[in-house]
């Protein structure tokens, strides 16, 4: 710490969070904003973004875009870079699922998940990396998942996209480390969200049995890991994956 700066202070930093209209993304946006960052909220549901923006008040911009559309992904990067005056922190959080047992998985379900969860990350990150390199500062934080490491029946497409994200992050981290741009992942386990809210009691019980903490995590607990990786203090962390999973997998 130097002077009156507190630890993990993000004042003056500009962050773009994709998927900020969803549970975890919303908490990430809140947490970065609470640390003083100027936050760009990307999402597909405009009303949800507007509600969150009005709750946060100042230092907020909204960027609706469909990540399944490659032209929109490029435009999102350009718009965020211009409107925020340079993106210092990119949080690739947006993701979708199209679950189904592998032998019955359609090409469409495979393609849709890979396109949104992985290809859009590649394209958006490519758009924003070069300016970060030029400024000699950047934080790229990719929200992967525990299942990207452990696998999960019924989610071959989703797990492939999340594992892909980890390999992508490690490669990029090595290429741009000398430019003071770090690339890391956060891998949540079971987190209270609309997605896990759909589970029935029996499914929940099975899951709890596998979690040493005997509870689901919260979006805020995931967001804390993101705040750390986004901070100046995390300057020597790159190519890593932080697992936030209540001990469900110790990797």
């Amino acid at each position: 710490m130097n002077g009156d700066r507190t630890m993990f202070d993000l004042s003056g930093r500009k962050a773009l969070v994709t998927g900020a209209s969803g549970g975890i993304g919303e908490e990430i946006a809140r947490a970065l904003h609470a640390q003083g960052a100027i936050v760009g909220l990307h999402g597909t549901r405009v009303e949800k973004l507007e509600t969150l923006a009005s709750e946060l008040g100042e230092r907020v911009h909204i960027f609706p875009a469909n990540l399944a559309d490659r032209a929109e992904v490029k435009a999102l990067g350009e718009k965020a870079e211009a409107e925020l005056g340079g993106v210092d922190i990119l949080v690739n959080n947006a993701g979708i699922t199209k679950d189904g047992l592998f032998v019955r998985m359609s090409d469409d379900d495979w393609d849709a998940v890979l396109e949104v969860n992985l290809t859009s990350v590649f394209r958006l990150t490519r758009e924003l990396t070069h300016p970060m390199m030029r400024r000699r500062f950047g934080r790229i934080i990719n929200i992967t998942s525990i299942v990207g490491v452990t696998g999960n029946p019924g989610q071959a497409n989703y797990c492939a996209s999340k594992a892909g994200m980890i390999g992508f992050s490690k490669s990029l981290a090595q290429e741009i480390a000398t430019r003071n741009v770090t690339v890391n992942c956060v891998a949540p386990g079971f987190i209270e969200s609309a997605m896990t809210g759909k589970l029935n009691d029996k499914q929940k019980e099975t899951i709890m049995g596998a979690i040493p903490m005997k509870r689901m995590g919260t979006g805020a607990e995931v967001a804390s890991a993101v705040v750390y990786l986004a901070s100046t203090e995390a300057g020597y962390m790159t190519g890593q994956t932080l697992h936030v999973n209540g001990g469900m997998a110790m990797i």
């Binding site: 070069h130 390199m133 030029r134 290429e175 741009i176 000398t178 430019r179």
Partner: protein, 78 residues
């Protein structure tokens, strides 16, 4: 020096933070001006932007000196 050469020189000075007198036509980005491989990619991108030309990867690989860059751009714009 031609206008193109001056503009190339300016980009190299700005990007690599080197003294103007070191940026001679024969200066090698990597051997003489301290660039790393990422710098050379960034320089090529900066040239593309400044001059509105496309520099394909195989051509970029042969641009090793300030003079190489000037020659390529002059040819591309001719």
């Amino acid at each position: 020096m031609s206008d193109i050469a001056e503009r190339v020189k300016k980009i190299v000075i700005d990007h690599l933070g080197v003294d103007a007198d070191k940026v001679s036509e024969g200066a090698s980005f990597i051997d003489d001006l301290g660039a790393d491989s990422l710098d050379t990619v960034e320089l090529v991108m900066a040239f593309e932007e400044e001059f509105g030309v496309e520099i394909p990867d195989d051509a970029a690989d042969s641009i090793l000196t300030v003079g190489d860059a000037v020659k390529f751009i002059e040819k591309a714009q001719a």
